[in-house]
Point group: C5
Chain length 129, copies 5
Amino acid sequence: YISEGGDFCSEREWVTLNVGGKLFTTTRMTLTAKEPFSMLSRMFTIDSGQFNLSPSSVDSSGAYLIDRSPTYFEPILNYLRHGKLILDAGVNVQGVLEEAQFFGIESLVPQLESLADDEKLKKKQQPLT
Amino acid sequence: YISEGGDFCSEREWVTLNVGGKLFTTTRMTLTAKEPFSMLSRMFTIDSGQFNLSPSSVDSSGAYLIDRSPTYFEPILNYLRHGKLILDAGVNVQGVLEEAQFFGIESLVPQLESLADDEKLKKKQQPLT
Amino acid sequence: YISEGGDFCSEREWVTLNVGGKLFTTTRMTLTAKEPFSMLSRMFTIDSGQFNLSPSSVDSSGAYLIDRSPTYFEPILNYLRHGKLILDAGVNVQGVLEEAQFFGIESLVPQLESLADDEKLKKKQQPLT
Amino acid sequence: YISEGGDFCSEREWVTLNVGGKLFTTTRMTLTAKEPFSMLSRMFTIDSGQFNLSPSSVDSSGAYLIDRSPTYFEPILNYLRHGKLILDAGVNVQGVLEEAQFFGIESLVPQLESLADDEKLKKKQQPLT
Amino acid sequence: YISEGGDFCSEREWVTLNVGGKLFTTTRMTLTAKEPFSMLSRMFTIDSGQFNLSPSSVDSSGAYLIDRSPTYFEPILNYLRHGKLILDAGVNVQGVLEEAQFFGIESLVPQLESLADDEKLKKKQQPLT
């Protein structure tokens, strides 16, 4: 198996986000390519255009400050990296849904809503008078 | 989906809390807007007023020192960010309740008490002679 | 709800512990008030007296070095903060008991021993020939 | 039991990876020896050759930047260290599979695919109308 | 309860290990006393002797570099501290066994092998098919 290293080694612009106090390192491309009209993407799009938002403040290490939960942001960033939603057991789906909606990652919302509904159903079925 | 970026990118004052040794980065607005009369809010309210508390000491990195559990503070901060209580599986509800009461986040207390009662009930129902 | 901020904002002496490589920030009062005769308390009591122990070495950041498990120390520190024992699911009770005994937090020991016994009983009852 | 310390103490070249914001310290040998033709190996192979990729950028601490999930990279690095796949309960197999495929660790893929299939089967069998 | 503080406060030599990127702080005595002939002990024994290994390289903070899993090393270090094997729920026993064998902590191996066998048995008994 030899995967193409193209997108791995080429020149890229790295950015670090400080999400609620935890640092995430990624590339501008990851943040903008998959959902170009999301709020997250518009924050990190350089080309001048009417949809762009001005970026957030940076902390003393140069990381962009975002006032949200790091725990629930993590699966969203992974989704932007490779296009799959992957949640560990024990992670509250509702928490990830909340962040997907906040950042405007629209393509994730239906899948998360459906998972959240399943979870509610399961809880109800547990034997508790 | 285009969410309004207003509250995301506008000028804000960022603060970092050192809760029991773990750093949380957030904004003064998050800490004060939802429950203006809570102890937490009064610590971080700037306007002069009779209800305000003087803020805590800061550590060498400038973070406000708070002598409490970081684990159980995290869902409370998320609640102040977006108004929903979201707990991962395995997190002890009683621990979060304890912090909500300490910080005076009154609107969270009934919901947490009800969840804590459910948990106690479940434990009793497990087969253990 | 307006909790008294007295013990929150008053002048306090903050100390940082390096427990097995993880930093915990708390106050001298938390470490000494609840169990004045415990080893932990005696290490951090300033008043001259026959029971006091000389404090441990400090690391390069000034944190007191303690060669024990950070994972199991955490619920003990929370107990010293607010007087309740709160354990997340998945945390091994035996590990916390071990630390309570080491630090001499006597009032926690019976409760932890009883929980540890319950856990052993449950394991036995699981169907495993 | 006296294990040979040869590969433990000999001169080695240490490298640090910054995977999505988390640092992993390991040796060049661990990254290259087990799967010499994987993308990961080719990034860290020094000998000049046609298969080599140029390495990634480094962050300010000198760690190689990799825009992937740290959580799911961890068991893959352990596999490269000692040749066994070891997953904690609660870790999503699909997430590790995704990374194994990205980094080109071919020998891990069939085992992970089989585990992922088992997991899907189990989920289906849970009673959820 | 007054535990003897002797081994807590006496002069000790503190060492920090960088295990796969995570720092663990402990003492030379903890690493060497319990299993004097293990590889780990021989690395940190100062007395000149034929069994000693030369220590590993150090990172920029002076921590000894060890190219192994931090997750599974943690319970082994705790064992060396107080002589008990304590595993959290969800930790893979096989992972700890792997490290015990690598570091040559012989007295832990039989206990871990027995636990690993129990775990395999349980998995088989789960209803799948």
